[in-house]
Symmetry: C2
């Protein structure tokens, strides 16, 4: 079986796979309500929030669009961009209002001063991708949330590939709308997106006309019915899977899970360093390397195709660069249920493929083992 | 196990359930492309179309919104309404343009003259729900498609609960955008929606700004890439399931499947009649009883709750009325993989529950058996 080390969809545990094979149920029944409510309840712990959480049947992108379209109606939106998903927020903001981009080269760090300047001009919504999957950087969501609050702006955080794997306390930071994808750190299949909504965001949502399928007011109305439900038929098997994945998360414990992600990421980074490879992101004092995906500059002497085909032949799937970074970087996903074993297998395969092209030091596995204490 | 006789989500075959438990794959791989392409290829036979077909990760409603929002930008839209889903089209049309409703009491028939009059006033888009699930009526899509064509208007058909179970030859009728739901006649789980797009519709789509997640231009662009893909991460396990469900459909044969749906529906209707119950829809010469869901007036002497709870206790789930029809009708879904066996079990349970309240003749099962030739 192929080892999935791409930054989502992630490998699924057999328990989660089995859950999907359960017979179909009525989506307007107490049976479905119980599943939905349990998912929301665990997600509130994962998000560290008392805000409402809703689960939509759609990809992470549908969640990004739900967030923007429910609070923006011709308004200015500060969109921080330092990767593909930040750029996506900008495009969505342009559909519903005016994007005020605070833009950097992909992989470069966000500077707070730039956002502050943009806020001083009066925009009342800020979007940021917490973990920019495309470049392996963890953006300063905490700091930007505080800034947004100071200027009375709503803060929308794409936590699609961070929530459930790294620390992201929604209420403590003051994130008005946070988005988590099912197929990333939550270790469920793709197709669901969880969205938290603050009281402050609700005030704006109530006066905004949203697209029909993404109208959060309807999700709230149906969640508050006598039997909790979704306005439109939900992707039921994915809820079966999410419930099981969230139970597994609860069994592990959120703090343990964050630690595991940190340890696996640290092992990957140390291995890259020991192998003589360069990490792609350019950090400043408030940005960090991602603990869920590592982006590495493509070394000379091998093409993207050679590298990824070679890895695939050894049974490991990794990702390439997106957009203009295609061929220039490669990315290793290490989120969800990934443990030391998968990390080591990946580094071993990588060393072996690179060695075939005369690249690397052969010291990657040992460096990773040291971090993983194996 | 409970027998699911609601009008979607439908019961799934074990083969379809098993398919979902397969390990996760990369959605930008040849492996996923093969699955997507096979689904589209079989769906083209099911739709009887040479038009492009795309599969979106979302409920049927997201497909309805995709259809309208991709061709309407402030335009007049004739929305035929004789049930809940027609009313939904009207609401969606109001979001993107001006709805020109051609409206009837829910369950009453559509009159061609009314649509003709509306077309004479210049609207260039017509929406219709082919099989109005909420009231058990099959609307005259063929006739309305011909009318729309005559007036050079685009015809959008919600075939969510008809396509795959009843005759709906998209190209022959001239349907510009047709929508099928995964969880209805196709007998797959909920969460996917298939949309066909005619050349004429594309011309309009190319000049219309659609919501981000539902922009058909992006679905086309990604489908045409070297490796077929979707623009946003698809709900992969549901594609595994849809592939298997469509293979089963192909094994049965589309004509056989239509016959089976017709026979089961006829058996249900004859049984209702024999039991002294009244079907809800008011037909005219161009509308028909639905062959995928039967709507029945609630008999006196029993409440909706008593009826449906009683049925559930006997292991059969049926549906109530929606909106203002709650408590006034009940609905039996008979689509997907439903056969004579399930129909008879349902009627038997219904007779038994009604008998406990002194209602019915006890002649339902026999009447159904005669149609089913058992």
């Amino acid at each position: 079986m192929t080892l999935l080390m791409i930054p989502g969809p992630v490998a699924l545990h057999q328990r989660v796979l089995n859950a999907m094979a359960k017979p179909m149920i009525n989506h307007r029944s107490k049976e479905f309500a119980n599943i939905y409510e349990e998912c929301v309840s665990i997600l509130k712990d994962v998000f560290h929030t008392k805000n409402d959480i809703f689960i939509l049947s759609g990809s992470g992108t549908s969640g990004m669009e739900a967030a923007v379209s429910n609070v923006v109606d011709g308004d200015d939106v500060i969109t921080t961009v330092n990767g593909k998903f930040g750029a996506r927020f900008k495009k969505i903001a342009e559909l519903y209002g005016n994007a005020i981009p605070v833009e950097y080269r992909w992989g470069n760090s966000v500077e707070l001063d730039d956002i502050k300047k943009a806020l001083e001009n009066g925009a009342k919504v800020v979007t940021m991708v917490h973990n920019e999957t495309s470049v392996g950087i963890l953006n300063p969501a905490k700091e930007v949330a505080a800034l947004a609050k100071k200027y009375d702006a709503l803060f929308i955080m794409d936590g699609i590939s961070s929530i459930g794997g790294v620390d992201a306390p929604i209420d403590k930071w003051g994130v008005d709308i946070a988005i988590a994808g099912s197929q990333k750190c939550l270790a469920a299949p793709p197709g669901l997106v969880a969205i938290s909504v603050s009281e402050k965001a609700w005030k704006r949502i109530e006066e905004t006309r949203a697209p029909y399928y993404l109208d959060m007011k309807e999700y709230r109305r149906y969640a508050n019915k006598e039997v909790t439900q979704t306005p439109y038929t939900p992707a039921i098997p994915l809820f079966f899977a999410l419930q099981e994945a969230l139970r597994m998360l609860r069994e592990e414990g959120m703090q343990e899970r964050i630690k595991r992600h940190r340890r696996c990421a640290e092992a990957v980074r140390k291995a890259m360093e020991a192998m003589g490879l360069e990490l792609f992101p350019c950090l400043n004092e408030i940005s960090r390397h991602s603990n869920t995906v590592t982006a590495v500059n493509m070394p000379e002497g091998i093409t993207d195709k050679q590298l990824r085909d070679g890895m695939r032949e050894k049974g490991v799937l990794i990702a390439g660069g997106q957009g203009h970074l295609a061929g220039k970087i490669f990315r290793i996903g290490h989120m969800g249920i990934i443990s030391a074993k998968e990390v080591l297998l990946t580094i071993e395969a990588l060393e072996s493929v690179l060695a075939e092209h005369g690249i690397g030091t052969g010291e990657g596995v040992a460096a990773a083992e040291q971090v993983l204490k194996i």
